[in-house]
């Protein structure tokens, strides 16, 4: 029973975090473009904007296209959202504070997040819209291409820590400059690869071809409106947040930080927001690149590089420089 309560609390916390992280992004982007961003809803500085957005979406009309594959169309947001939420199941926010600290935690995260593509494709297909379908095709292309570098990059800290258990990985990063991002050479490169793969896997600019507004209107969710649209948005941002948490956990030492133990979750959140802002910074600074360039970057550059990196990590660990127990 405690599990269920924890899960319920966690779910709502995540939704809250996701809601406000959208606000953060909007403010951040606005500042980058010398604007103010949302300002009027709520006081001060538009603090109620995410709540208003959610309410608006919930009240909007739910449109189902006549020629859509109705079941698939309706189920798609759920199928999309489910894995995006499940990825938080294994993330420990502080020692002992998490749903399930599985011994294969990282692998679980990767496996579940791979399911996201099914829902995405269901949405693109079920809409029976050519923009949506094209977007879904591109999504499959891009996501399976960047899944592999993402996994390899994420495996570097795993190998260094000698465990797939997330808490063990955090424990392995204790000490001054113990974070894996500070691990000489390997850590920085792996973190760079992780961020790039994250940007691509989350379909953010410059890798946002699957919802390229100028080409595909709004990508696979072009036909969605109202609550279903909200679910998809929620899923997307939840996935991004989850990936940011994972990045913070793998490379930035998770809950480790100065101060008392109860500050751990705050540190963790701060680091995750840092990773998120890194991604957002890139998003608002670059322009979109072409499909073939995206695929070429993945298969010709990122994948070989991460494989070599992983191999090098293996050698380093075999040589006795690992941090594992």
């Amino acid at each position: 029973m405690t599990h269920l309560i924890v899960a319920f609390v966690l779910l709502n916390a995540i939704i809250l975090v996701v809601a406000y992280i959208t606000l953060l992004e909007r403010k951040f982007a606005a500042r980058m473009q010398s604007r103010i961003g949302p300002y009027y809803v709520g006081w001060p500085h538009g603090w109620l904007q995410p709540i208003a957005d959610a309410l608006k979406l919930m009240l909007k009309e739910d449109v189902v296209p006549t020629l859509s594959d109705r079941w698939v169309y309706n189920l798609a947001p759920l199928v999309f959202l489910l894995p995006c939420m499940l990825i938080f199941a294994t993330i420990p926010f502080a020692p002992g504070l998490g749903l399930a600290d599985l011994n294969i935690g990282v692998l679980f995260f990767l496996a579940v997040s791979a399911l996201e593509i099914v829902g995405l494709f269901m949405g693109g297909w079920g809409s029976n819209n050519k923009y949506a379908l094209l977007s879904a095709m591109r999504a499959v292309n891009q996501i399976i291409s960047y899944d592999l570098p993402f996994i390899f990059a994420a495996l570097v800290p795993v190998v260094l820590a000698g465990s797939m258990q997330m808490s063990a990985i955090v424990v392995a990063q204790q000490g001054l400059f113990g974070w894996f991002v500070f691990y000489p050479g390997i850590g920085q490169l792996a973190f760079l690869a992780y961020v790039i793969a994250t940007i691509a896997a989350e379909n953010r600019v410059p890798f946002d071809i699957l919802e390229a507004e100028s080409e595909l209107v709004a990508g696979f969710r072009v036909e969605y409106s109202g609550m279903k649209f909200a679910l998809i948005q929620l899923g997307e941002y939840a996935h991004l947040v989850g990936t940011s948490f994972l990045g913070a956990l793998l490379f930035l030492g998770g809950w480790l930080g100065p101060g008392p133990t109860w500050l751990g979750p705050l540190w963790f959140l701060l680091k995750a927001v840092l990773v998120f802002l890194l991604v957002t910074w890139v998003r608002w600074s670059f322009v979109r690149i072409r499909v073939d360039q995206i695929l070429a970057i993945s298969w010709k550059l990122l994948l070989p590089a991460t494989v070599i990196l992983l191999l090098a990590t293996g050698f380093v660990v075999a040589a006795g420089f690992g941090r594992g127990a």
Partner: protein
């Protein structure tokens, strides 16, 4: 009824339902989606059997890989056909009889076999890893060769004529 029993019967029901849907639904795309559901529920069965690692592998490879490839194939062929993905069945009665006969045959073995008690759960992931680089190292390497061969073969088959 323990929680595990509930989980098992639930998952079994889902698995069987989705499996049946895979072979019965006339829409090929739906069939693939049902297959994805069946595969995920198989993964949950693995979880029930304390094989979390295999659950992850199942999801990662099947749900990610297989479904993606399937979807691709449907897309490509459908695009070429230019018609909806209706698929029909033939000799349904014959197939049902034969499949049922095979099931009964297997069942005959199952009911006559011993019923071992369930040993206590243990984390076997590390053992699995050691087995892969220990006694099963050679098959593991061969698997890599097989995957490369399959990759090259698939590229060769599906390449465009020029």
């Amino acid at each position: 009824m323990t929680a595990e029993a509930i989980g098992f019967w639930l998952v079994a029901a889902v698995l069987l339902a989705t499996s049946l849907a895979v072979v019965l639904t006339p829409n090929l795309f739906h069939a693939v989606l049902f297959l994805a559901a069946a595969l995920v529920s198989t993964g949950v069965v693995f979880l029930l059997l304390d094989a979390a690692f295999l659950f992850a592998v199942q999801l990662l490879l099947y749900a990610g890989g297989v479904i993606t490839i399937m979807v691709f194939a449907i897309m490509l062929t459908e695009q070429l056909v230019g018609e909806r993905l209706r698929q029909t069945s033939r000799w349904v009665i014959n197939g049902a009889i034969l499949a049922a006969a095979v099931f009964v045959g297997v069942l005959g073995f199952v009911v006559r076999s011993a019923r071992p008690a369930r040993p206590p759960a243990a984390d076997r992931t590390a053992d699995l890893a050691r087995a892969l680089v220990g006694p099963f190292a050679a098959p593991f390497e061969l698997l890599a060769v097989l995957l490369v061969a399959a990759l090259v073969g698939a590229i060769y088959f599906a390449r465009t004529e020029d």
